[in-house]
């Protein structure tokens, strides 16, 4: 009797849980977040479909990218794109997601990689299965992609940030970098580009990089690190945070303490609107970012072009990305190719009000 009841309850529980899952799917679709298909529609998806794999769920930057991606796919094919978030911001979790997409038989995967090399095996599998693999936002190594949608050239970002630092410091003085985690691919590439710019160009010679601190993209740790930078380097003039979580945490610390130290870097306008301003009451005179919606849109166009055979991902090819204009596939310098969206966009007090509602 007891066991029977037990088994019944267990089964009921399971079905209830699953129903709950399927039920709330509608909400998430409505808010354009997760899965865009109901179970029946998956049949279509298994015969094709365009998939985007983000770095993690619950991040508005990724959401905006996904938004742009699905809009374009809807426009081009009339079907919904498959947006997949991994369970955590790790390469491990992305492998599970990509495997699942291979099973579903999608025709293209566009991925923002959490680790440059770790996805090689599974992405090779995907390509062997005839799936067109491209990256956006954050690349994988050249063996495991056909091409990469780069939000802005790495070198360009490096020099842009160095220019900003030069401008804010007034030409000389100490500055520090507050990064995300020590293994964040993008951040490391940009920091390297900044260092390279310092070495190659004489005008940066009076600038001194005192420390690269890591806030692990956690508000608490980023706050601790920022405060430590302030007390360890009393002569510090600028902090540069090329990460959305870090820049917001640092901006808050500086603004709350009414510190003389200024901030720049890469951040989301909606998160940073509060801190951007020319006067002493604001900690960040200006910062940069690209439009994540456009990154997503270009990613979709690239996926589509790859699937349609317009491009194969070789350097020198070109394609039309709807109203965004024509783009050319160029050599990325790592043995693979990339498509560069454009220059990073500058957010300053004159335009921040306009952009903070967009993303």
């Amino acid at each position: 009797m007891r066991k029977k009841l037990l088994s019944m309850l267990m089964c009921m529980c399971l079905t209830a849980a699953l129903l709950a899952g399927c039920g709330s799917k509608e909400d998430t679709t409505a808010s354009k977040s997760a899965d865009t298909e109901t179970a029946e529609e998956t049949t279509e998806a298994s015969n094709g479909g365009y998939a985007l794999v983000t770095k993690a769920a619950g991040n508005p930057y990724n959401e905006k990218m996904a938004e742009g991606f699905s809009d374009v796919i809807k426009e081009l094919t009339g079907t919904d794109a498959i947006i997949k978030h991994p369970q955590a911001a790790t390469a491990d979790a992305q492998i599970e997601v990509i495997n699942s997409l291979i099973s579903q038989g999608v025709s293209s995967i566009c991925i923002a990689a959490n680790d440059e090399n770790a996805l090689q095996a599974v992405l090779e599998d995907a390509m062997n299965a005839g799936i067109k693999v491209s990256c956006l936002d954050s690349k994988t190594n050249s063996d495991s992609r056909m091409t990469f949608v780069n939000q802005a050239g790495t070198k360009e970002i490096g020099t842009t940030l160095m220019e900003a630092i030069l401008d804010i410091t007034g030409g000389e003085g100490q500055f520090a970098i507050l990064s995300a985690t020590s293994q964040a691919t993008n951040q490391n590439a940009w920091i390297d580009a900044m260092k390279e710019a310092m070495e190659t160009d004489d005008k940066y010679s009076k600038l001194e990089l005192v420390e690269v601190a890591y806030g692990d993209d956690e508000p608490q740790k980023s706050t601790d690190q920022t405060q430590a930078l302030l007390s360890n380097y009393p002569d510090l003039k600028v902090i540069c945070a090329p990460t959305t979580v870090g820049i917001a945490a640092a901006a808050k610390v500086l603004q709350d303490q009414k510190s003389k130290v200024k901030l720049t870097g890469l951040g989301l306008p909606s998160e940073m609107a509060e801190y951007i301003g020319d006067d002493d009451a604001h900690s960040c005179p200006y910062m940069y970012l690209w439009n994540p919606i456009d990154v997503g849109r270009l990613g979709a166009y690239v996926s589509s072009a790859l699937v349609n055979g317009e491009i194969t991902g070789a350097a020198g090819e070109s394609f039309t990305a709807g109203d965004m204009g024509d783009y050319e596939v160029v050599d990325a310098g790592d043995g693979g190719t990339e498509v560069i969206l454009g220059a990073p966009f500058k957010f300053d007090p004159s335009n921040i009000e306009e952009w903070k509602t967009v993303y």
Binding site: S31, P60, S182, P219, Q225, A228, E274
Partner: protein
């Protein structure tokens, strides 16, 4: 002669006192390396930045006193914080006080569910809270609908953490009030002593007329309420609500308690000990970047410090026991 012995005896016999010495040594060493450490503003920053963990440590103290454990608290925090963040962002609620109340209410509901599962459903705390860790965290993501509530969206709510009363930051006031309340409750009220009683000998409570299951429910409820409060605090301190906020921070809270001499098997621990434990955790987080330990080695050092402190706890306890035995006349 006897008085002398008792003062010395008190210091060596009280875990809080010996931990206090560790704390002072720690502060001294850091101060030697970096003189900006022991300044009012630096201490204020440290307290403010660790307020969330300090508040939750009080709840965890109660849970551990019962011999239980709660690893769902960081998820409860995220759910309440995220809910408040979204409510403000959508313009539904703007009053700061109301926001705190809502956060506490959400925390209370989470705590009540956990408490019911453990006290009435007789599910082992570690398993129940592991399940709820996933559930509440998932719920936080659902609430967020993959958005953040940033500084701009939070309006006047974030000012709470900036303002101060009598020169002490609001957030630190919350911590002080919480610790004061718990210090009194745990020492001077029946309810507080009941928690100790249930943790010390659960079977005996029935005879003393204490309903152990109610105390257990109550303790997890309190834990939930404090996590909810901490959720709102985290949002105002960092002026940002994200669904993955404070991910895995429950371990820091547990570590704070254990460092503070709270026994994980129940019955032993004090508010003072929890405070010192939380302070040691706070100092570690604050000081490691200050004393110039390479960023990449900071985690290793943090782990080593925790390990050394708990091993030290055991070693001192053993020598204490041995000394008692040696003193025994035969």
């Amino acid at each position: 002669m006897k008085d002398k012995k008792s003062i010395l005896g008190k210091i060596t016999a009280s875990r809080e006192a010996s931990l206090m010495i560790v704390l002072i040594i720690l502060c001294f060493v850091i101060q030697m390396r970096n003189s900006s450490f022991l300044t009012p503003s630096s201490i204020g920053e440290m307290l403010k930045n660790n307020a969330v963990i300090m508040v939750m440590t009080l709840g965890m103290l109660n849970v551990l006193l019962l011999g239980g454990i709660d690893i769902s608290i960081a998820s409860t925090l995220a759910l309440s914080g995220m809910s408040v963040g979204m409510l403000i962002k959508r313009g539904i609620v703007t009053n700061t006080f109301l926001c705190f109340m809502i956060a506490i209410l959400i925390g209370a509901v989470c705590g009540a569910i956990v408490g019911l599962t453990i006290s009435k459903g007789r599910v082992l705390p570690i398993i129940a809270t592991m399940g709820f860790m996933y559930i509440f965290r998932g719920a936080a993501y659902m609430v967020s609908s993959d958005e953040w509530a940033g500084a701009d969206a939070l309006g006047s709510f974030k000012d709470f953490a900036l303002n101060s009363v009598l020169g002490i930051n609001n957030i630190i006031w919350i911590v002080i009030v919480c610790y004061a309340i718990f210090f009194i409750v745990m020492k001077w009220t029946k309810v507080g002593r009941m928690v100790y009683a249930v943790g010390s000998n659960r079977e005996a409570t029935m005879i003393s007329g204490i309903r152990a299951d109610r105390v257990e429910f109550f303790v997890y409820l309190i834990m939930g309420i404090l996590s909810g409060l901490a959720g709102a605090m985290a949002v105002t301190v960092y002026a940002s609500a994200q669904p993955n906020m404070m991910y895995a921070k429950e371990m820091d809270v547990i570590a704070a308690c254990v460092i503070g001499g709270v026994s994980t098997t129940g019955g032993r621990g004090s508010v003072g000990g929890a405070l010192i434990g939380a302070l040691i955790i706070a100092i570690i987080a604050k000081a490691l970047p200050l004393v110039g330990i390479d960023a990449i080695a900071q985690n290793t050092v943090k782990g080593l410090i925790i390990l050394v402190v708990i091993v030290l706890n055991v070693v001192t306890q053993r020598t204490m026991d041995k000394n008692v035995l040696k003193g025994r006349e035969m």
